[in-house]
Amino acid sequence: MEKKHISWPVWLRRASQTGFMLLFLYLFIQAAYHPINRLGGRVTLFFDLDPLAFFSAWIASHQIASSMLLALITLGATIIFGRWFCGWVCPVGTLHNMMTAWRKSSAKARLTVGGYTKWQKSKYYLLGSLLVAALLGLNLVGWFDPFSFFYRSTAIVLYPTANDGIKSLFTWIYQADPGVGKARLTVVTEPIYEVLRRHVLATSQPHFYGTFLIALIFFAILLLNLYRARFWCRYICPLGALLGVAAKNPIVRLQRNDEICNNCRLCVTDCQGGANPDIAEGWKPSECFYCWNCHESCPHHAVTFRVDIPGAKGFTAPFQWLRNFFRPPRPMQLDLKRRSLLVSGVAGIGAVLLVRTSAMGEASEFNPALIRPPGAASEDEFLAKCIRCGECMKVCPTNAIHPAMSEGGMAGLWTPVLKMRIGYCDYECTLCSQACPTHAIQKLIVEEKQKVRIGTAFFDRNRCLPYASARSCIVCEEHCPTPKKAIWFQEVQVMTPDGSYTTVKQPRLNPDLCIGCGICETKCPISDERGVRITSVGETRNPKNQIFLPDAYSGYGSGQN
């Protein structure tokens, strides 16, 4: 077979896609501890460029992080030039692109699936539902936002598994130490591993709750590319839908030379977005990613892209463009049905009502396991802003932050919760608040964070060793990080099994000092269910979820009750 000539726009697109994918991965790796208590570079860049995250957080919480104003550039560029972002920038699109390229099917088969189908409108209805829900204060965009989807899947599934795989390989070589004579393979592999360990891999293997569901969804969505090219981008992606609405009337348009075109329809076989390059007057700018595959597939290059404002003459062109934007010429590109839009809006309202009235949502306000990172806003505001991206989970140096399953009710799925069985909130660290792109976790300086209580420690005297087993331990007190330790101990004489007495130090908690960081729980030597555990009660962000009278801080009362 003759090697196919590939034209420069396609090469340029591929280079751009590769570059942004590498940038995404680089920023992902940089989302880690850099001295001292800093993240390495602008790790929220892709979320800052995301107008969907911008609008959903804005209309749900009526606040916006100034860094996210970058999203307006994406939006503005799309209004003027079209959905280049999806085809040239978005790393999630690139990922689906790669999967699509894997698909081996005949041009004839692709002819039938390459064109536009009306199901592509589903993403606009999904966007409608999400925005209506956001308007009512519930931000569910994170379930579907492409960057949230990809970042979360990478942080929770891909990076931990890649980390484990690479480490296992090098460990296996390190332990087996294969070689010929005095030449050892480890002489080559160990220096490579050392570089990876210092710059790429996690310093300790991350583990997350809820990996399975996130992995299942991620790989299912990848496999859908085998059914339709860029299935996610065509049918689901609400960011794509938002950009599609913006790209109603771009100035860069598909041009077909009808004198050369023989209607072979090869141009549609590799169309990524299902934008109908093959139908006269049927090209849909809202679905087009400007991948140039149509130009590439055409044996005569009868299709190409050019700057063009239909109906414009001379200096009136900008006015004509504006007029086209608000009253687009036929064919109507989006063609959304009023009735379907109404249904999607009602679905959004319904979702909010369901979430509000379910017992799970109600109970989550006092769920002992709903421990949010320090700086997390009150639950309502938190759910209005959190886009479930998993940045906080990636950056946490102790692996304390996990995607919630049921802790926060249905509405809280994949929002961050702390699992002190695995990790704890380090006293001197504020990385999660720095990493949060929407300020659902408010920016805190260390001194502020050290005053935020995220829960309270409780001793389980049936398990705690000095109580239950007459053994000394007090690891919790050793690790307690508050300047005056919240965990103190009382020396108590206890009987041992042989009837003799021994003195042990029994831990006690000073609830006025405890901030619920959970290092006591993480470090407790009872490996399965700890002898000291944190629950959310006492958390600063929820005035209802408290234990003591407001004036309890003045002391331990008069005892005159």
Partner: protein, 311 residues
């Protein structure tokens, strides 16, 4: 560690023919003769933070080691040296929960001056490792001094026979064993359970596994480590000490200046002296008593006639 100084010294004597007459029973006497077992350097004034303290720490460290006969007594040309400071916590140097970085850097510089080929500095902290290495200031100071200082590689904890009283075997960091010399650089500070963290307790930092179980019999477990490791040199940082809410600390009001660095070959004697910096008696601290009972060193450090330098 195999190439211990007393053996080197003995070899020198053997060359002179004298050892033939002394025989093996005189080893301890010979070791004592090779230099003092304990040296204490103290500043009369407390220079102001932060500028004065760096120079003070460097001078005290140099003086304390000079009092033992200099680093060349411990480090030979071509040696690979493991330096074990306390980087246990994500704390700043002035909070005195971690070893003073200037003390660490000075020891590294002295090792290189004595001809060391390579100096490795590491620890297995209680707090997350990367932040602790950074905030303690030790990573930066050690790297500037030419040492390799990075967080431990968790593949390298290997179950190792300790033949201890309570620890028959435990995970030990393999690279810390494959070196020629081991120098322990603890900081003196308060500890809730055992009253003081000093040199012997600091050895926990080359251990892996579920270390939190050590607390159930802390005295015996850490003395098992002391018996196993037998550091060639212990340099105790007593420039700032943490007197309460240890070992993690965090409250500057609990930090006091002692302006002292002690160095010694007898780890029990160094810790016994360290206890006095915290206002304790060596007898108050379980692991010092246990180490003394096991004849790992001398609790009555004054009987060693420590070399004292007042600066």
């Amino acid at each position: 560690m195999k190439d211990c100084p007393r053996r080197t010294f003995l070899k020198t004597l053997a060359l002179g023919g004298a050892a033939l007459k002394l025989g093996p029973f005189a080893w301890d006497a010979l070791a004592a003769a090779s230099g003092p077992a304990l040296s204490i350097a103290h500043y009369r004034t407390s220079p102001k933070e932060p500028d004065g303290i760096a120079e003070e720490s460097q001078r005290l460290t140099r003086e304390a080691i000079a009092g033992l006969g200099g680093m060349q007594r411990f480090v030979n040309r071509g040696d690979i040296v493991w330096v074990k400071p306390n980087i246990g916590w994500n704390r700043k140097p002035e909070q005195a929960a971690t070893t003073n970085p200037d003390v660490v850097a000075t020891v590294i510089a002295l090792c290189y001056q004595a001809g060391a080929k390579h100096v490795i500095v590491s620890d297995n902290p209680c707090n997350p490792a990367v932040p602790s290495f950074a905030r303690s200031g030790i990573q930066e100071a050690a790297q500037k001094a030419g040492a390799d200082c990075f967080v431990m590689d968790d593949r390298k904890f290997k179950s190792t026979k300790l033949n201890g009283k309570v620890l028959p075997a435990w995970d030990v960091y393999a690279d810390a064993l494959g070196v020629n010399k081991f120098i322990n650089i603890p900081i003196a500070k308060n500890h809730g359970l055992c009253k003081a963290t000093l040199g012997i307790k600091n050895l926990m930092g080359v251990m892996g596994g579920e270390r939190n179980r050590f607390h159930q019999d802390l005295s015996n477990t850490v003395v098992d480590l002391a018996a196993f490791f037998r550091p060639n040199l212990v340099v105790l940082d007593g420039v700032r000490v943490l007197t309460a809410n240890g070992p993690s600390g965090g409250n500057l009001a609990d930090v006091q200046r002692r302006d002292t660095v002690a160095a010694g070959v007898d780890q029990v004697a160094v810790d016994s002296f360290g206890a006095t910096l915290l206002g304790l008696k060596p007898q108050d601290i379980g692991y010092i008593v246990e180490a003394s009972n096991r004849k790992l060193g001398t609790m009555d450090f004054e009987s060693l006639k420590p070399r004292r330098a007042e600066l």
